[in-house]
């Protein structure tokens, strides 16, 4: 079960990261914690997969990275959403919602008339 969830989660990982950052800049760990919190720890995934996703998002310029100082006085890379990233977030959120609704509707629908 956990694996199936992880598959679905992986597909939405980018979306979740963008959403996490839409609250403000955060470092990688911060993003992980927010996902944990927001999904009530249901969607638990190897946190390692976060980082390649972050790098890819950075490559596409949807997030920007900057060195900063973390809460415990350590040097960390902070990610923030760019303008394009914000637009991408909206687009992806909309399409995900559409997709989810369609699946929902399908699950509720009866069989085809004979």
């Amino acid at each position: 079960m956990a694996e199936t969830n992880s598959d679905i989660l992986r597909g939405a990982l980018d979306l979740l990261i963008l959403r996490a950052l839409s609250w403000g800049p955060a470092h990688g760990y911060g993003v992980a914690r927010w996902i944990e919190f927001a999904t009530a720890d249901v969607l638990r995934v190897g946190e390692g997969t976060l980082y390649p996703a972050l790098h890819r998002l950075e490559e596409r310029r949807w997030v920007a990275a900057e060195w900063g100082v973390s809460e415990n006085r350590r040097r960390a890379k902070f990610y923030s959403l760019t303008a394009q990233g914000r637009a991408q977030l909206q687009a992806e959120a909309a399409s995900w919602t559409r997709y989810a609704r369609a699946v929902f509707a399908a699950l509720e629908a009866p069989a085809l008339p004979a």
Partner: protein
């Protein structure tokens, strides 16, 4: 220091060492793990359990790390690329701005370079077309030409048709044979008559070579049988002829033309680059089959079956070399000697691979082209060095700017790169300008009436353009790099403090070296030109043995225009008679060839015991010429004994013969040649006169066999004769009169144009003339640049040392001393360059010795002339700056600060 600045310094170091990317990734991942660990510890786990749990939550570390690294590295690479391009763009823009700001310098530099690049490109284009372009034939390396050769290689002759057939039968050696023979046809088309060069070829000629027709077809292998072979009156025209004469008519097939009066039908057009692929031969414009030969052989009484007029082209069987083929075909010679050629000293079959440069001209053309290549290369070098010197000068005047840039942190590499880019911009512009110059040069060359048939299209194909660009970039890079390195090695402190009165010493030494090299190169070029000049001088002073001044000549090929031998004789007689009677004409004569032309040379074998110290290896062949009465008088060749020919001798089977001194001494040394008998022709001949030996082939003694036999015009068939007219004065009038006279005799013939004999002689000296003018031009240009460089250097140094000079003058120094000092520097540089140049020239002269006449490569006059010229020019170039030095006002100099 703040976190940021420390970070940025460390970041710079890391960036330099490329550790940045991996380090960053590791940082991030370890940070995450630590945060998770501390959180778990807060919740109550112990350290070890917390770590394990954190790792477990994280997932597969190695895979993640690898993936992140890949992505990060990719991004990093892309960013670097963008940055580098941006830098480059900046350098280019900056360089362009700087060049535009000093238009004088830029213009001069670009012009100088474009001349060098242009010349080099033109030469490459010519060489490419003449020597490098492969023949547009199928497997050209399997093609070869055949000759019959004997007497150790000094005798050549062609094949007869039956001999060609015998070769064709040797199928283990050759895949196919095609006979070829050159012939000049008189082409009548659309009412206009013109002489065109053509070939008789076997019907399978084009297929053998692997050429495809552009329009129509070629002859086809089966040329029919019966009385009139089917292909007999078919003709193939060249692309050029088709374009020029027939207007590129797409319906050219089936059109009829008249060749020497015979009607022919055009069946095809050869491809555009076919006729022009061989240097040294008149490019063929028209081809007809060998079956057509009988239609043209009016004035030969021998059965044309046996006439050895063909020079076959063969396609060798795979794996057989030309040499081997020659050996194996040589077995046929024994057969032939018995049946067809008992008296002809043929020993072997010589097979030579077909190559783009016709074998008889190969050495001359290659030598010549190599010489030109060298001279052009030197010119380019001189130009490039000059521009390098200019760049150096400019750079040293920007010492302050460079110093500032270095001080604020631009790496030396960056500064060098910027200077090199600037130099490359210059060279790039020069490449463009040079290409234009090359095109113009090639057009010019194509218009010169070369004696050797040369087809040069001023075409710029991609290869040539690539060459021009390549040369420009390579020299540009080399010659901007050195000044850039030199000037960026400036001591920053000194540069920042630099004032007008002081200057860096290093750039000056560099410039001095530049001047020396330029002088050396110019001396080299000028010396070669001077050697050519001396050659010409010697050549003109060689007495050819006859007096060419005032003699005009014109060649008449009546057979090509349909004249039968009796009509020819009649025409010539009437022409000579009429011209003789003209005012201003002293004497008139006819001969089978004009001096210093090769067309019309004939030889025959004399059955004579060789007396005296004659070389037994020499073939008993002697060149002969047909001459009319008055020939020797017209050319002023001294008659040593006996008499000239008379009208009575001008009959077939005449027995009179005249020999020259060289021949007499070879065969009858010490005896009186008059009355001696000569066997070897159709009738035995008798010597009736002896004339002085003259040079009529080349002016170089080593290569000519001077023994000559003269036979009367009319005693043997000769379809073309050259009219010689001695008209010491009123040449223009005579030219016009003769022209209208000839037209009056027969308007169908092309206009008779007499040219002065001296001009013909001049043509044989063409390589030397070109060498002298071209190389001399290059050398003069190089010298000009060198002197400009010298002047600039001295002037600059005087300006730099104004302060010092002012002090010297104030302390009592005399102007004469100052003058001497400046002149001294200048002459020292010039002398150094001259020494190197002379030494190089002496060594290089050996390369061109083959083109020099009787002048050794170390001819003192030539060297002396060049050194003198250099001396004068160098002193002049040094005088002007010296004068400036002398005129320095000590007070003003001391005050300027």
């Amino acid at each position: 220091m703040s976190e940021d600045s420390r970070g940025s310094l460390g970041a710079r170091v890391r960036r330099l060492l490329r550790l940045d990317v991996a380090g960053e990734v590791d940082d991030k991942l370890s940070f995450h793990l630590e945060m998770r660990e501390s959180e778990l510890k807060e919740r109550g786990m112990d350290a070890a359990a917390a770590r394990d749990a954190a790792l477990a939550r994280f997932g597969e570390m190695q895979g993640v790390r690898a993936e992140c690294l890949t992505i990060a590295r990719r991004r990093d690479r892309r960013e670097r690329r963008v940055e580098r391009l941006a830098d480059l763009g900046q350098d280019v823009r900056y360089g362009a701005r700087r060049l535009l700001r000093s238009p004088g310098f830029s213009l001069v530099a670009v012009l100088t370079l474009s001349l060098g690049i242009g010349a080099a490109t033109a030469l490459f284009s010519a060489a490419d077309q003449l020597l490098l372009r492969p023949l547009p034939l199928r497997e050209p390396d399997r093609l070869a030409t055949l000759q019959l050769s004997g007497m150790g290689g000094s005798f050549f002759t062609g094949f007869s048709e039956s001999q060609v057939a015998d070769v064709r039968a040797m199928t283990e050696v050759v895949e196919g044979v095609a006979a070829t023979a050159t012939h000049t046809f008189s082409l009548l088309e659309g009412g206009r008559s013109e002489l065109v060069a053509g070939r008789f070829v076997s019907p399978g000629y084009f297929e053998l070579l692997g050429v495809r027709p552009v329009v129509g077809r070629f002859f086809g292998v089966a040329s029919g049988s019966g009385d009139a072979p089917a292909g007999q009156v078919e003709a193939v025209v060249s692309h050029r002829l088709w374009r020029r004469q027939l207007g590129s008519d797409p319906l050219v097939l089936g059109r009829t033309i008249r060749l020497n009066g015979n009607l022919f039908t055009i069946v095809g057009v050869a491809p555009a680059d076919f006729a022009t692929s061989r240097v040294g031969e008149e490019p063929a414009e028209i081809w007809v089959t060998t079956a057509a030969v009988p239609l043209f052989q009016r004035d030969r009484d021998a059965s044309f079956e046996e006439v050895a007029m063909y020079w076959p082209v063969v396609r060798l069987r795979a794996g057989i070399s030309a040499e081997e083929a020659g050996e194996r075909l040589g077995t046929l010679v024994a057969q032939w000697k018995e049946s067809a050629m008992p008296h002809i000293p043929v020993e072997t079959v010589l097979a030579r691979p077909l190559d783009p440069v016709s074998w008889s001209h190969r050495e001359r053309v290659s030598d010549f082209v190599s010489l030109l290549a060298l001279a052009t290369g030197l010119l380019l070098l001189v130009a490039a060095i000059n521009v390098a010197g200019m760049l150096l000068a400019r750079a040293s005047s920007r010492g302050r700017e460079i110093g500032i840039r270095l001080a604020i942190g631009a790496g030396r590499g960056r500064v060098v790169r910027q200077l090199v880019v600037e130099g490359l911009l210059l060279f790039g512009l020069a490449a463009v300008a040079g290409t234009l110059i090359a095109v113009w040069l090639l057009e010019l060359v194509a218009r010169v009436p070369w004696p050797v048939a040369v087809q040069l299209a001023p075409a710029l194909n991609p290869r040539v353009l690539a060459f021009a660009l390549g040369v420009a970039m390579a020299t540009g890079f080399a010659f901007s790099l050195v000044p850039a390195l030199q000037s960026s090695g400036v001591d920053i402190q000194a540069a920042l403090r630099e004032r007008a009165g002081q200057g860096g010493g290093k750039p000056r030494r560099g410039r001095g070296a530049v001047v020396v090299v330029q002088v050396a190169l110019s001396v080299l070029l000028l010396t070669c030109a001077a050697l050519f000049g001396r050659s010409l001088q010697v050549a003109w002073s060689i007495d050819p043995g006859f007096d060419p001044d005032g003699v005009l000549v014109a060649n008449l090929d009546l057979a090509a225009h349909g004249y039968e031998p009796p009509a020819q004789a009649d025409y010539f007689a009437r022409l000579s008679e009429a011209v003789r009677g003209m005012p201003g004409v002293e004497s008139v004569a006819l001969a089978s060839k004009a001096p210093f032309t090769s067309a019309g040379s004939m030889a025959l074998a004399l059955d004579l015991p060789l007396g005296g110290a004659a070389d037994p290896r020499r073939p008993p062949f002697v060149s002969f010429e047909l001459v009319s009465a008055d020939y020797f008088r017209t050319l002023r060749i001294p008659l040593l004994a006996g008499r000239e020919f008379t009208g009575a001798d001008a009959v077939p089977e005449a027995r009179a013969a005249i020999v020259n001194r060289a021949l007499a001494e070879r065969y009858w040394p010490g005896e009186d040649p008059l009355g001696k008998r000569l066997d070897g022709g159709p009738v035995p001949m008798e010597v009736v006169g002896v004339v002085e030996t003259v040079r009529t082939r080349t002016l170089r003694s080593e290569t000519e066999d001077l023994a000559r036999l003269y036979l009367p015009v009319g005693s043997r068939p000769a379809h073309a004769l050259t009219l010689h007219v001695r008209a010491p004065e009123g040449r223009t009038r005579v030219l016009q009169d003769v022209r209208s006279l000839a037209r009056g005799l027969d308007p169908r013939l092309p206009t008779l144009e007499l040219i002065p004999l001296n001009r013909l002689i001049g043509l044989t000296l063409l390589p030397q003339r070109i060498g002298a003018w071209l190389v001399g031009g290059f050398g003069a240009f190089g010298l000009l640049l060198a002197m400009l460089g010298l002047y600039g250097l001295l002037y600059y140094s005087v300006v730099q040392r104004t302060r010092e000079i002012g002090i010297r003058m104030a302390l009592g120094g005399r102007p004469a001393q100052l003058l001497r000092q400046v002149l001294g520097t200048g002459t020292r540089l010039a002398v150094a360059g001259a020494l190197i140049g002379v030494a190089t020239a002496a060594a290089a002269a050996r390369l061109i010795e083959s083109l020099l006449f009787g002048v050794p490569g170390t001819d003192p006059l030539a060297y002396a002339a060049v050194v003198l010229l250099l001396g004068v020019v160098a002193v002049l170039a040094s005088l002007l700056p010296a004068r400036r030095a002398v005129r320095v006002d000590p007070a003003a100099a001391l005050r300027s600060d």
